[in-house]
Homo-oligomer: 360 residues x 2
Amino acid sequence: MTKVYNFCAGPAMLPEAVMQQAQQELLDWNGQGCSVMEISHRSDAFVALATEAERDLRDLLGVPDNYKVLFTHGGGRGQFSAVAMNLATKQDAAAYLVSGSWSKSALQEAGRYVQAHAVASVSEHNGLFTLPSEQAWQYPDNAAYFHYCPNETVDGFEIPEPPSVALPLVADMSSNILSKPINVSDYGVIYAGAQKNIGPSGLSVVIVRDDLLDRARPDTPSILHYATLAKHDSMYNTPPTFAWYLAGLVFKWLKSQGGVDAMAARNQEKADTLYGAIDGNDFYVNRVDPHYRSRMNVPFQLARPELDDAFLAEAHDAGLIALQGHRSVGGMRASIYNAMPLEGVQTLVDFMHDFARRNG
Amino acid sequence: MTKVYNFCAGPAMLPEAVMQQAQQELLDWNGQGCSVMEISHRSDAFVALATEAERDLRDLLGVPDNYKVLFTHGGGRGQFSAVAMNLATKQDAAAYLVSGSWSKSALQEAGRYVQAHAVASVSEHNGLFTLPSEQAWQYPDNAAYFHYCPNETVDGFEIPEPPSVALPLVADMSSNILSKPINVSDYGVIYAGAQKNIGPSGLSVVIVRDDLLDRARPDTPSILHYATLAKHDSMYNTPPTFAWYLAGLVFKWLKSQGGVDAMAARNQEKADTLYGAIDGNDFYVNRVDPHYRSRMNVPFQLARPELDDAFLAEAHDAGLIALQGHRSVGGMRASIYNAMPLEGVQTLVDFMHDFARRNG
C-alpha cells in the first residue's frame, strides 16, 4: 500500500491503530467466532461494548450525570430535524447563528418545524469572513433554543468559545467534537455525525440534558426521539453496531493519546503549522478572520487559481489526497481532524512550499 | 478461530467470502491507499461503487425503471415513520396487516401520522398461529396504502405471496428481501433494514415507485424524505458508506451464487431440513400454520422447556451460536438467511437429534 495522508473532510480518515485493530478482529471479535457486526445488539457482549464506549466518551468529555448520551442513526442532518422536533412546538421560535453552510442548512431544515430565525450571519468584512459581535445579534421572541455550529467544515470557520445565551444551547459539533476540552454544562444538546472525529458515517452521537427530554412533538419519528432513545439505551431500534464499535475504538485510542487535552495541543500545532505556511507565502490565501479560523478544516486558495488542477494532481501523486475544496466553494481544503498526524501536515506544508517555488 | 454457525436474527451473519474480502481490503480499498470508509461519498470512486451496488440490486430483483432505489439511514424502524410520512396526509387512513411483532410496531408508529387501521391480525387457531382469509379482512375508508411484513423475524411467520389489494402495497422485507424472486411491480414501496439479508445494521434500502414520490408531508425529515433522497441519488446527506459498500459486496456474492433463484432453492432446502427435524421429533415443536412457516426464521420450543438453558449452552459449545428466541417469546430461534450455508443447518439438525436422544 502506498502511504497516503488523507485530508478528506468526511467521511474522514480514522486513526491508523484503530483501523489495524478493526482489520485484525474483523472476522473474529472478542472470541465470538464471528464479526462484531454479526452479533445481536442485545447480546451481553455487544451491550458491554456499547456501555464501555459510552463510559469512555463520558470520561473524555466530562459529561455530567444529568446528561444522556445517545448513539443513533441519521447523521448530522437527521439531527437538524431532531433538534427542532425534540425541543420546540410549532408555535415556538428558534434562534440560529449562521456561521457557514451547515448552520444555514440546519436553519432551513428547522423551518419545517419551528419559526427558525437567523440571529446573525457570517459575511465578508475587509476581505475576511467574520461574524457580527454578540451584542448585535437579533433574537426572536419565544425562542425555545439557540442553535450554532462551532466548526463549519465547508467554510473553515470555527467559533472558539460558546456564545453567551440565556436559551438552551444546541451545538452541531460534527466536525470538532473531541478535538479540545469543552464544558458540557454550557450546552443543552450537543450532537455530532460520526464521520469526522468519531468513526465511520452512519452514526450520530447526541448528548442531551435530562430536563430537555420531555418536549418532543408527538409526531417525532422514534429513531429521532431523544426520550425514547434514552429510555432504551439507544436500542429501541437496532443501532448501527459496527459504527458504534469503531467509535469505541476511537475513544480508547483518544484516551491512550492523552485525551482531549493532548488532542487540543496537537491540533493547535497542526493548525499553526498549516496556517503559517499559508500566511508565509503570497502564493496561498485563507480568507477567514483569524479569530474564527478552524483548527479542523483549513480552506485555502491559490493566488493563481488556474493552477488548482495541477496542485491537486501533483499533491495526489505525492500521497496527499482529498485536498479539493467543497464543490460549493472550490479551491483547496485540508481537513486535519484528530486522526491526522502532525507528519501529514508537515508533508503537506513541504509540498506547498515546493509547489509555490516551482510555480510562483 | 473456532468455526461457528451464527443463527442470529440480526444483525446477522454475512457471507464468509464477503467478510474475507472486506478484511483484506479494509486498509486499502481499490488502490486508494485508505479504507473505503475513509473516502468522500462524493468521490468518483465511491459514486462508482454506489452506482454499481444499485445496478446489481436492480438486476437481482428485476427492479423496473419506474422505481427508485434508495440507500439510507434509519433502519426498518425509520421506515415505519417514513412510509406514513411519505405516502399519506394526516386525514388519510392506512391499512395494516398484523402478522407478528414487527408489523404491529409498524402500525403503532404509523398511528402518529395517519389513521392506521389493522385489517386483520395473526391469532392462534387450533394451536397454530395463522391469519384470517383475505376475504375476511376489514378495510378502513380512505386508506392511502396497505402495509404488511412478508416475513416476521420474531414470530417466524412468512406470507408466501403478496396479498391482492387495490391500494399501493408497502412491504417491510427486512428479513426476506433477496431470499427469493419477487415481482417488484406488485409493490408501491419495498423497504428493508440491511442487517439480515443485505449487510450490517445502519443501512436501509427502499424501492419506491415514481408516482408515489409526490405525496410527502411537508414536515417529513429530509433523511426520511423519499423524493429528496431520490433527487440526490441518496446523497442529500452523507450516507452510511461502509454499510453501502458491504451491501454491494453481498449483491456481487449473490450474483456469483446464481442470484435469487438459486437462493430460493437453497433457502427452501435449508428450511425443509430444519422443519423436518422439528416435525420428525416430538421433542421439538413449531406452532406456525405450515402455510405461513418462515424460510428465514425458524422458532421452535422444546417439549420440556426446563431444558432450554442446557440446549442453548450445549449448542453454543458445539459452535451453534445465537439460537435463543426473541426475548418476547422465549424458546429457540434459528435464523437461516441467505448467508447461512446448508452445512450450518445440517450441523444444527444433527445436534438437535443428538440432544433429543440424550434428553428425550
